[in-house]
């Protein structure tokens, strides 16, 4: 499991869902991000890079700073 969600910061904008290439993420009934399919995550960081709310992180070190 390499995804970490900080729900309190999520505003449910859907950017991470839209840019995830593997449909790992969705929006819950309370309008927060939720993980639909964790095993499909390829740690591409599209979600982490464009989350405007610092609410989703890949829990692996960044390869090069």
């Amino acid at each position: 499991m390499s995804l970490k969600i900080i729900e309190a910061r999520c505003k449910g904008c859907g950017i991470c869902v839209a840019f995830c290439p593997k449909q790992v993420l969705g929006i819950s009934e309370i309008e927060k991000v939720k993980i639909l399919n964790a095993s499909a995550c390829i740690t591409c960081r599209q979600c982490e890079t464009r989350c405007p709310d610092f609410a989703i992180f890949i829990t692996e070190p960044v390869p090069t700073p």
């Binding site: 505003k11 859907g14 840019f19 464009r50 405007p52 709310d53 610092f54 992180f57």
Partner: protein, 276 residues
């Protein structure tokens, strides 16, 4: 470094979530800023972040540096004072299109003219978001705004060209969609000695996007993806092709004497000659 730790390192504890609307790109740009600062290796104590007033200018309060949330349009005078009085500090200005190009326009061109070593990160969301979507000096012509219900007549600035014309020695444009590239541009701006402008194309789905039927937050980021063209490639386009595109990357870079270094020479001369 884990990205979460990087964010925690440079954000003040307990200040998130921020005040920006769902889908506002300001958070992406602020994230790019701290990633660039991480890459400079600079000590937090030695960095000042100065902002004006507006949505983007609220970023300074979240960041764990010496921070000033100044008055509307006035970030550059405050930043100039900090830099002149403490030239060893790295001074970064966070501003928006209304803050820097309208009410702060005079300060903007004169800071550029002096070529003082400041890095201006300008979040361009094409609107006054905080007051509800009025047109700014960077709103495209014929856009809807809450003060232009029939569309805008005004022509927008090309800020990078304005900065260059005023004497800035570094001007770049990035976008929230191209966030990793934006990190590189901000880093180059900080490392550049002299006045640096980094315009970051933001997106405001709530106050600007809705009025102009630009879709939701992901759609507005996809618009950036589809309309940004690297500067070199953009130059090869004809006028028709350029019409709905915008160049990103380093748009201008030059060498010129930096203000605080030149003023240090004045002090040396005055101490030698000044017979008071």
């Amino acid at each position: 470094m884990f990205m979460e730790q990087l964010i925690e390192k440079y954000f003040r504890p307990g200040r998130l979530p921020h005040i920006w609307c769902p889908g506002c790109a300001n958070g992406i740009i602020t994230g790019a800023l701290v990633k660039a600062i991480y890459r400079t290796g600079l000590d937090k104590d030695n960095i000042a972040v100065v902002s004006g007033i507006g949505c983007s200018s609220r970023a300074s309060g979240y960041l764990d540096f010496n921070t000033v949330h100044s008055a509307h349009g006035r970030a550059l005078p405050f930043a100039t004072g900090i830099k002149l009085a403490a030239p060893q500090m790295t001074v970064i200005v966070i501003t928006g299109d209304g803050d820097a190009a309208a009410i702060g326009g005079n300060h903007f061109i004169h800071a550029a003219r002096r070529n003082i070593d400041l890095t201006v990160l300008l979040y361009n969301n094409n609107t006054y978001g905080m007051t509800g979507g009025q047109y700014s000096p960077l709103t495209p012509t014929n856009s809807k705004a809450s003060t232009a219900p029939y569309g805008t007549v005004d022509r927008p600035f090309d800020l990078a060209a304005l900065a260059r014309g005023a004497g800035a020695t570094f001007a770049a444009r990035g976008s929230a969609f191209h966030a990793p590239m934006l990190v590189d541009l901000i880093l180059s701006g900080i490392r550049h000695k002299g006045f640096s402008l980094v315009e970051a194309v933001a997106s405001c789905p709530i106050s600007y996007g809705r009025q102009n039927k630009l879709g939701d937050a992901p759609a507005m980021l996809k618009w950036q993806r589809d309309h940004a063209v690297p500067a070199a490639a953009y130059e090869k386009l004809n006028d028709e092709q350029k019409a709905d595109k915008f160049p990103i990357g380093v748009l201008h870079q030059a060498d010129a004497p930096e203000y605080t270094e030149e003023y240090a020479k004045i002090i040396a001369r005055a101490r030698k000659e000044g017979g008071h």
